[in-house]
Symmetry: C2
DNA sequence: GTTGCAGATGTTTACGTCAACATGGACGGT
DNA sequence: ACCGTCCATGTTGACGTAAACATCTGCAAC
């Protein structure tokens, strides 16, 4: 068994020999420079095709000090929102000729993130997008390579880096107001984990909306985004006949709540109204179909990429945080309170 | 505004100067070679820390002809199964010191895949994992770089490359048998899209199981994996009082079916039993909680990675296809047929 | 004291690309 | 005919690393 050979493909020199020109001319053709005679260009292209030449990205990167790739530090990748956002990032980045290096962290601890960062920091990327739910990054203790552009997807204002996120506050307010306007005396809330900045934003905005309306502010139940935690919190809510409206911080927990409500025989939306947050593909087919706040992960991803590329290309400083609007989608889980 | 400078970090030469040794010694320290005096090693490490040295991966890749990174060509990334599998791949690959380059394709056409392949083929990766649902790859027309290791995640046997996948056939048979054993005369089926090899596998296995049991084989309904398509197919099924048991090719479509059943007032599992495929996190909280076939995306990802790394490191040829077993998880959506 | 050897360290070179500079031929103006 | 220009093309060198080879030191064996 031959040890795996380095498998080096044909290089510019090979093409040059094949086409009878210098390596430099091959380089010019490869980079689409104009100052090459048409006949020569054709000859070179033919040679490239013939021997199957591909530019060597390592040599290129070494030469120009750029990699044309960006790193994405991500936790909880299979999560609905994160996978959507990642997909959007990928889609936005590819047409620009960049590629994506994935750097998953299993837990959002300081150490893991810093580690991921320094791996990425081996100059293998031109910029980094950080997409980490629940991180407690202490900015000062991340060791940053000087000048590596970074964009954070998060509602937090704690960073010097550009920040992009869904307008959590507005979404939560809209959800709460929707329920209030339907005639409910107040709105209960199942929140996401307190380490999550998004969860905190939604919770605060729910409370503020209630206070603004002069409504009673019931105690918060907290889950961890999972359907199971929604079910658990929901079981307590379902036992209390006083609750007629619940704003749940994401659709998955809303699903758990729905189940708890069914099990205790409380009808939705007859007895209690539910609104979620996210608008997963499944939500339209929950029983009953869920009224929810749709957020555009696609827009978040797109904005993050354009901010990062701007930083990379022009060295631009962090501008205003970008906030992506949400949208209330009304389905069948909300109605006026029982008479 | 200064144009973004190449931002080159300190190199080995800088460390060498700082530590008063040659570049080669720095290289030895960086690579953990043993033949360096302890005192010298310490001095070099200190110098590295002091000036913030990071190895330059491009130069390294250029020098050794290896990138220590693998490419993943993926379509429909936000899909439940794909995001889980990708996460598993990432988790398996990182401890080996490899990183992942993501290459999304928007549509699984021949052209897109070939394009992704050739991008990856700029020697930027040491191997490739192809994770594409519904592709109709004509192997012969993919232009392969000579010797680039590839692993395909797919049940198809159409490839020369190593193949890894869930045991679709066994899972579907188990689901069908479960329903039959409960006493149902036959089992209906909502299949995935015919372009999907997994969907076809499940469909064929369902049919074979029915035939083996001497049961009537009802016409197949086909969806596209989405809850909406499950709802649509489900609406037709719900209207037919003869159907008492349905095996749905994935959990999302099962959710749609459940909704259709609720809307027409047929009880689950009282009137009709449902079993899905996948076991999403949500499935345990569907109403009623869904009996389904759990597949281990984690195992699939892990096996794909180890096959690929083996190929990369030893040049091993494609071995037997790896098949990952499934597991029936019984919840509340199945019961004996109505009396 | 010489020889030999092992282990630490230094020097040279090549990996593939491309910017910078060098060359050389064609052509226009005088 | 002479000079200057412009444009296509060639030559050189440097990016950061690490393998291969060279050198040097100290020490054990005789």
């Amino acid at each position: 068994m031959p040890a795996a050979s380095p498998r080096r493909g044909p290089s510019m020199a090979d093409v040059a020999r094949e086409a009878g020109v210098s390596g430099q001319t091959v380089s010019r053709v490869a980079n689409g420079k104009t100052n090459v005679d048409d006949a020569t260009r054709e000859r070179v292209l033919a040679a490239m095709r013939r021997i199957g030449y591909r530019p060597n990205s390592a040599a290129r990167a070494l030469r120009n000090g750029k990699f044309r790739s960006i790193g994405v530090i991500i936790s909880a990748l299979p999560t609905f929102g994160n996978s959507r956002t990642l997909d959007a990032i990928a889609a936005a980045v590819v047409p620009e000729g960049f590629s994506i290096i994935l750097m998953p962290v299993t837990r959002p601890t300081q150490g893991e993130v810093t580690g991921a960062f320094s791996k990425l920091n081996e100059q293998a990327v031109d910029g980094v997008i950080i997409l980490i739910e629940q991180h407690q990054l202490d900015q000062s203790s991340i060791e940053l390579p000087h000048g590596l552009p970074v964009v954070v997807i998060d509602s937090s204002a704690r960073y010097d880096y550009p920040v992009v996120d869904t307008d959590q506050a507005d979404g939560a307010a809209t959800a709460t107001r929707h329920l209030l306007e339907l005639g409910h005396a107040t709105v209960w809330h199942i929140a996401g984990p307190p380490q999550s900045y998004s969860a905190e934003r939604r919770r605060k905005s729910w409370r503020a909306t209630l206070e603004l309306a002069g409504a009673f502010v019931p105690p918060v139940l907290v889950g961890d985004w999972s359907p199971a935690s929604g079910y658990e919190a929901g079981s307590r809510l379902a036992a209390d006949p006083a609750v007629t409206a619940v704003f749940v911080a994401n659709d998955q927990m809303a699903l758990g709540l729905l189940r708890a409500l069914h099990e205790t025989g409380r009808s939705v939306p007859g007895d209690v109204s539910v609104v979620g947050f996210d608008d997963m593909e499944e939500s339209a087919h929950f029983w009953p179909p869920l009224t929810t706040i749709r957020q555009s992960f696609e827009a978040v991803g797109r904005h993050a990429v354009s901010a990062l590329l701007a930083e990379i290309e022009t060295g631009a400083e962090a501008g205003e945080p970008v906030t992506v609007p949400t949208e209330l989608v009304r389905r069948s889980s909300t109605a006026p309170p029982p008479a």
